[in-house]
Symmetry: C2
Subunit: 658 residues, 2 copies
């Protein structure tokens, strides 16, 4: 495998230049920008779309194809009763506060976090600590203060206050609305844009709503996750899978969340593409047949106990050990944590900047019983990019209860379960004759008895008679002529149960953004010129074909190379624009194109071609077909650049290419 | 290429059995079905999702990759001003009528169409004409009358009424709302469900709306097409394309239309996946460099003149001839019509049931200047599945006007355009001195003059003096000391223009549905057993691997075949369920799986494997690797079944497989 060393200059990560690159090369841009845009809505341009499409294609291979998942494509527009049952109408909300004077709306937890972090930064500055510079972001001092950004002011805090703030921040996701309000009062937190006080936190539901039909007869919500579409189709899915369990369904699609105050670019948006897996599993057996394949994968874990102690130090651990020690609850959850890790590394995320953080008790979504987030470090901090939750039987149970549709698995038991228990056998005729209208109440009392009560009754009956008391307090004497208690054998051959659900849920936009940050650097001698070291598997274009000029004599060769690469399954683009070869390569370094081939007069004469590697700018030369063979292997990862160098000699020709 | 003869039993198309198959195999199903569903919203199950994903993958290859289009992914949620400018808020509407008593809502044009078609069917029945049976649908007589279906009653109509109805139906898409209201009165059309009268047609806007942000500060619409996302990003796209034109952008994504009364399954839905291309072209040159490649493609065309005459007979024509004769307006439009045709045939649409129909003048969307629909015949009639419109400069112009952002192309002219014209040269000092406050008004009048007026002025000045009249009616005498008229040369080296847009727009759900109908048939001796003859390129699974049983001894071979197929890029599934091989193949005939390989005891002993072809049920046998090689070629279309039979001998073994 080629070694794509990302973040070669991470200590100098220059966010201003990075963002300028993404904008200049149209990776993405604010939606309806010419109309002024609306926060939290972004359009992906050609390289962003291709990068996303390649991430999705790899996701499909890595998860759906590898584990034979059942793919779904369900609607975004969803009838309101679905989200009433799922609990989203009542509980899918964030806490917001309003500026008491301007009415501006802020998300309560973000407000507390931003203000406390700024105070801590100011404290470090005042103490002259180098810690203030330890962050990876080089702030552009000339940049204007953006709305919602809190500026650090150099004020030293008492040591115990620093400790308090740090403890609050370590569990910022764990506070309820009233607690956040309390924090605002306690620490005198105001709206940083205006210095006005803020209101008590109120809940704001994050679902967009609309109405369906010409008379608005159906209330609808835009789904905030794709998951419900899987659950509602559970019966069809299990039937499609021939009634077998475990199995997983998977879906890639849009979801919508009406965020209170979206910021941080692609990290917090109102419309986004998700990829979700719902793995349905027997609650009594959460082992995974392929767990052995991932047992030795080593990952960074940050469990809830560490966080509750106010710490954020993660621990590197093999997934197998995490299961054995009970850090991760079960094998299936562990399997997916490892598979998520492998996927993220494969597409180019820096493993040193990836950790799995366990949700704290209050932080968990209303449906989850355990949850691990894959968090990726970037210039905004550690960002949740994948959630991996054990939703238990929550969703299937609530939908089943609301609709009366059984959402269960019926398993023929290999060996029927045989149980014995004491059962009352009535002489109903005599009972009716004797007790008339009270007969029913008497039966009810006896049938509600547990095993030991029944045994006592049996004993008393064998000694002659017994007295039972009905619900309304009346007493009746029973004899063995009226009722006998007998031991009977029961055989159960079908087991029926509601499966549990393990849900890995991917925010593709966040992953894409973090990947871009991890891939970005610039050459020491040319800081203006950015490079995106995207691995070939996700790079928008794999090979750039660069004819020396747009002159017609190069056309047949360009056509030949282009066609041969397409047949080999390698996506290439031709750049015959009217600018120097160096500038064309430069543009493609910024687009993350890993390889380039140049066609010049020597190519026409000798059928040779040079091959350039993006990160090293090394150039090799060889026959056209040999270069195509080598670059194909490079793209598919069966050859690394060192291997390529053994097959192709260095290029030291007269044609300056860079 | 393999010859996948679809519609082998089209004359017997059994819609009830067909729909039962799609439901049983979970191609798609009503969304939130367990909650009763909402009309016009459907979920795709595993085979439907795969089929759709394969159609999209082929679309990407056929259009985006082949023609180097720039892919985009823009938001669904769109700020209201965008659709105000585009005209959708005012005009993206259908005409609806209400039942005067129940308030039920009906789409006006559908009501007229359904009622008149039913009356014509009743007339044919009364006349005992065989024409009533000429439709491809075998109606299930036992089926209950669905709401909105109009039952034909055998009543003969006067000949002239029949003619009138037929004429109305041929141009049903051409009527305005008031005209539809007039037709209802004239032909006494009532709500067929209740026989009540209906109201005058009213407009109903088809966009779903919502509001963005916690205080509902931004009104938003769910896009009804992806197109606006392309137009709004035009400046970025043309820059990405190094300022060159023509080029095309492409986008695959969801769109929403709040249909008045969705019916006809996937053909008229409220949420759907589209694939749209916006090809930006010089309005002065709509030629296409690759037109030569499609010139000889022969297609069925139904132009607007034929329809206006009340006919619906299409004409087969080569695309080149259609351009030469002016039937299709320009080469670029023609190129896309041909490319759309080729795409649809490639994925399995029956060419005999595909036509291109030109929109009539009143039918065209508000933004289009010409439009051809690819219509596919199915049991609901001829359905628009792809629109191919020339939107001219409409969209770019309105967005540019509304936002003040230039959405233009600037081209350096190879040869500057040199023009000469008469220009007034003023002695401004003297002019001011002479006329004071009137000087400006005098200049304005002269500078507004055209060439011939200036020449007359020049002539008069050369003879001494002239009189000009300002806007407020005052007259002033000018002499050549104050002004002279001189001939000057102007050189224009940049040409600036708003491009035109040719837009092929695909409704993927409609194409998918029509394809399923065209692919469906059943074997003569086993009518209950459906077959979907989907071409390998779109079939959800390409190869089914069938071990004789789930016994462990087959596991290594299953694993080997599965891995080898995956490496060859062939998507396979294993079916080791506990049922006969015949039943397993049967299930996969219904899923459209073109090939199956069986692993039995002979495979374990001799490393042989049988290969079964879905449509013929032919079985061949060969060494495992040879069968894998053959089936790979079959899947990629480099070998047909006849060729495969030459390489693999017929299987006549003892193991009965069907």
């Amino acid at each position: 495998m080629a070694n794509y060393s990302v973040n070669k200059t991470a200590h100098l990560f220059d966010k201003t230049r990075f963002e300028a690159l993404l904008n200049r090369r149209f990776f993405y841009a604010p939606a309806f920008e010419i109309y002024g845009g609306v926060a939290g809505l972004y359009d992906y341009g050609p390289p962003g779309s291709s990068l996303q499409a390649n991430i999705i294609a790899e996701w499909r291979r890595h998860f759906i194809i590898e584990d034979h998942m059942l793919e779904l494509d369900t609607t975004i527009m969803t009838s309101a009763p679905v989200f009433e049952a799922s609990g989203h109408v009542a509980r899918f909300a964030d806490w917001m506060v309003k500026d008491t004077k301007t009415g501006d709306v802020l998300r309560a937890d973000h407000l507390v976090k931003n203000v406390l972090e700024a105070r801590l930064a100011g404290d470090r500055e005042a103490r002259g600590s180098a810690a203030a510079q330890a962050v990876v972001v080089v702030d552009d001092k000339k940049k204007k203060k953006k709305k919602g950004n809190v500026k650090a002011v150099a004020v030293q805090l008492p040591d115990e206050v620093v400790k308090e703030y740090e403890k609050v921040l370590a569990q910022i996701d764990n506070y309820s609305g009233p607690e956040l309000g309390e924090l605002c009062r306690q620490y005198k937190i105001t709206n940083p844009d205006t210095d006005n006080e803020v209101t008590e936190p109120q809940e704001f539901n994050l679902m967009f709503n609309s109405s369906i039909g010409p008379t608005g007869q159906h209330k609808g919500y835009l789904r905030p996750e794709t998951a419900q579409g899987h659950f509602l189709n559970f019966s069809r899915l299990v039937e499609f899978n021939n009634g077998r369990i475990p199995f997983a369904s998977a879906q890639i699609g849009r979801a919508f969340r009406n965020e209170i105050s979206p910021r941080a670019g692609l990290l917090r948006v109102r419309e986004f593409t998700m990829a979700e897996i719902e793995h349905f599993v027997d609650p009594a057996d959460k082992r995974h047949t392929k767990f052995g394949e991932v047992r030795d994968v080593e990952i960074s874990l940050l469990d809830r106990y560490v966080q509750e102690r106010g710490s954020s130090s993660s621990v590197r651990m093999r997934v197998g050990d995490a299961i054995d020690r009970g850090v991760i609850a079960n094998e299936t959850l562990g399997y997916f944590v490892a598979r998520i890790y492998q996927f993220l590394i494969k597409i180019g995320i820096n493993p040193d900047r990836l950790r799995f953080r366990q949700h704290m008790a209050n932080e968990m979504a209303h449906y989850a019983t355990d949850c691990w987030d894959a968090e990726i470090q970037n210039s905004y901090g550690w960002t949740e990019c994948v959630g991996c939750a054990d939703r238990a039987a929550y969703d299937l149970s609530v939908h089943s209860a609301k609709t009366g549709t059984p959402l269960v698995v019926r398993q023929a038991l290999k060996e029927p379960i045989v149980t014995e228990k004491e059962v009352a056998e009535w002489n109903k005729k005599l009972l009716g004759k004797t007790f008339k209208a009270d007969a029913g109440a008497i039966q009810k009392v006896v049938e509600a008895m547990n095993e030991s009560e029944l045994l006592r009754l049996k004993d008393e009956l064998s000694q002659g008679s017994t007295v039972v008391k009905t619900e309304d307090g009346k007493e009746f004497q029973l004899t063995s002529e009226l009722v006998t208690i007998e031991r009977k054998t029961f055989k159960q051959s079908i087991r029926e149960f509601t499966p549990n659900v393990i849900e890995p849920s991917f925010g593709l936009g966040r992953i894409l953004y973090a990947l871009l940050e991890h891939s970005y650097w610039s050459r020491e001698n040319d800081i203006e010129r950015g490079v995106l070291s995207l691995p070939p598997v996700v790079a928008p274009t794999k090979v750039l074909i660069v004819p020396l000029s747009a002159r017609e004599e190069f056309d047949p060769l360009v056509q030949e190379v282009s066609t041969k690469l397409r047949r080999a399954g390698v996506f290439s683009r031709v750049d015959d624009s009217n600018t120097s070869i160096g500038k064309r390569y430069s543009r493609n370094d910024e687009l993350g194109t890993p390889f380039g081939v140049t066609l010049d007069f020597a190519s026409v004469q000798n059928r040779t071609m040079t091959l350039r590697e993006r990160d090293t700018m090394d150039q090799r030369i060889g026959g056209i077909d040999e270069v195509i063979a080598v670059v194909t292997e490079l793209v598919f990862g069966t050859l690394d650049w060192k291997g390529a160098c053994r097959r192709l000699p260095a290029y030291d020709g007269v044609q300056a290419v860079d």
